[in-house]
């Protein structure tokens, strides 16, 4: 085969392959540290806001246990009624609902987050992280493209089909070289995606060197997720939850309902 006759200068290994790998690892570690430095400390929530956020949990706990509820019917009903009334009256809202002329509640304006400084800050944080993620990768890629374009760095120890050609030999336009040879630019990409495991070992599980984030989220994709602090229409959520609570009341069954027969059966005092 033509590929076998290729002979790589050991200097390529020492001066190109190892440096690229090392630089990428070090940049990952550096990035982790920079992200930690620029990360803004989590914002402190007021009591009312915390209460609003956690009120739904309360209803969900009550609801999810309904099928074999640990609490007796009178307690269950009073909890349900109390929560439903509170949700309907908006007792858990941190800000009172604004009403328009017809007395209907106004939904919060989605564009208001662009003017709300708190939301802006969250988005800026995302963009800062984004920049720290992307810029070093672009610089390294430029560096490799400039100095090592067209280099063949390494031969994989296993055969691959032709479909991998564009992945393994990016930057080298040869139709008939064995796919096992890896070009410099492809080595960069392999490292980029493949070093996550190593970072996890070096920096712990929740490190910020792992690239998944910069693939998965643009700053706006992050802001769209509710966890990122986009203003939620809690009033709507609460109304929906109060309906769910009423549905759950239908499937309610007390675990103590026939406890006597269950215990008697368990100790063989009653025919099963």
């Amino acid at each position: 085969m033509a590929g076998d006759s290729l002979y790589l200068d050991p200097q390529i290994r020492d001066w190109v392959l190892f440096p690229i790998t090392l630089v990428m690892i070090l940049v990952g570690v550096l990035r982790h540290n920079i992200v930690q430095l620029i990360a803004s400390s989590p914002k402190k929530l007021s009591r009312a806001a915390t209460r609003e956020q956690r009120a739904l949990l309360r209803a969900q706990i009550l609801r999810s246990t309904a099928k074999s509820s640990p609490i007796p019917p009178s307690y269950y009903d009073s909890h349900t009624d109390e929560l439903t009334a509170a949700f309907k009256a908006g007792n858990y809202l941190s800000k009172p609902v604004e009403l328009d002329q017809d007395g209907k509640p106004i939904a919060p304006n989605p564009t208001s987050m662009l003017t709300d400084p708190a939301a802006m800050e969250g988005m800026m944080g995302g963009m800062k992280n984004q920049a720290v993620m992307m810029i070093p990768q672009m610089i390294i890629m430029g560096w490799i493209n400039f100095f090592f374009q067209g280099f063949v760095l390494i031969k994989l120890p296993f055969p691959l089909t032709l479909g991998f050609k564009s992945m393994m030999q990016r930057g080298i336009e040869t139709p008939d070289m064995d796919v096992r040879w890896v070009s410099s630019l492809s080595w960069f990409f392999l490292n980029w995606f493949g070093l996550n495991g190593l970072y996890r070992v070096l920096l712990g599980n929740d490190n910020s060197a792992v690239n998944q984030q910069d693939l998965a989220s643009s700053p706006f994709a992050g802001a769209a997720a509710p966890a990122m602090g986009q203003p939620q229409d809690y009033n709507k959520l609460f109304t929906a939850e109060s309906e769910n609570l009423q549905l759950a009341q239908g499937v309610y069954h007390w675990v103590g309902e026939d406890i006597d027969t269950r215990i008697l059966r368990r100790y063989g005092k009653l025919a099963a």
Binding site: L57, I61, Y75, G256, I259, D260, L264, R266, K269
Partner: protein, 298 residues
């Protein structure tokens, strides 16, 4: 303990105590001082050194070794000047000497970060220590309204109500505990006993049975132990009461059980308890055994 402690065993015990939340303050201080005296004791802890100092500070406050606590808090303060956790320790240090000052301290600290769970809980605990029950309940109510899933908080509220003989209210607080930790037999037992105190015997009986259901106590075991045995005592008390007063009122409108089931349960409870008090070991060493057996056969 007579046997000498080694550094590794001390560190190991301390870390277990940290993760499981033991309150064995004497031991913790003894072992903590030992670690501090070793030359490389603190280095061995690595990143855990701050957790260790926090643990030691709390244990030292618990047994009144204020100098040691001061030392720990000082070290932590140098490392984390703005930390709310250190703030809490400082508050606890003040608590050790002056509750009134501590209350002010917590109030001021909460103004800075009003939704801080730790500080808020300390504030509530100070109020209870000062016996300001009314304000304590008000604060605890508003705390639980915000942090609903705090089981400790609900248990505390139930305890406060029970200490004021408000058993129905206590039951209400416990019902939230049951929702949050339905798998825990101790909570079910507590609910049952509170219901019994509130004179809601039919409900109490069901929860004593529920407690037994939640434990691993079963036929194959020769006798009931621990929480199950206590629950069997409760069952027996309830069945006796219900068999002699068939029309017992239930504030929670719990439906009465069938008479034959009640009778079987009565016999079953007596059987389980008699078995527990009939082992050879119990015959010689359990005080009050004859009284229990007499009650069981009545």
């Amino acid at each position: 303990m007579a046997q000498a402690i080694t550094l590794s065993s001390a560190l190991n015990d301390l870390s277990t105590a940290r993760t499981r939340g033991y309150r064995d303050s004497n031991e913790i201080v003894r072992k903590g001082l030992f670690v501090l005296e070793q030359k490389n004791g603190l280095q061995q802890l690595g990143d855990n050194v701050w957790d260790f100092l926090e643990q030691l500070a709390i244990a030292a406050l618990d047994i009144g070794q204020l100098d040691l606590a001061d030392d720990c808090i000082h070290r932590l303060d140098e490392q984390f000047p703005k930390s709310m956790r250190v703030e809490k320790l400082r508050g606890m240090r003040i608590e050790a000497q002056d509750l009134g000052l501590a209350l002010q301290f917590y109030e001021q600290a909460l103004e800075k970060d009003e939704a801080n769970v730790d500080l808020w809980k300390r504030l509530i605990s100070v109020l209870r220590q000062q016996n300001k029950i009314e304000r304590c309940i008000a604060e605890l109510d508003s705390f639980l309204d915000t942090f609903y899933s705090d089981i400790e908080g609900w248990l505390e509220l139930a305890d406060i109500y029970a200490s004021q003989n408000l058993y129905t209210r206590s039951q209400q607080a416990l019902s939230h505990v049951l929702l949050l930790a339905p798998q825990n037999p101790f909570h079910a037992l507590r609910f049952a006993e509170t219901a019994y105190s509130a004179n809601d015997v039919p409900l109490a009986l069901r929860y004593f049975l529920r407690t037994i259901e939640l434990t691993t106590d079963d036929e194959s075991g020769a006798s009931s132990v621990g929480v199950a045995r206590r629950a069997w005592f409760g069952v027996r008390l309830c069945t006796k009461h219900l068999l002699s007063n068939p029309g017992a009122v239930s504030e929670s409108n719990t439906p009465p059980m069938k008479k034959e089931n009640l009778e079987s349960l009565d016999i079953l409870a007596a059987e389980r308890l008699t078995a527990a008090y009939s082992s050879t070991q119990a015959k010689t060493s359990v005080p009050g055994r004859t009284e229990v057996l007499k009650w069981l056969s009545s």
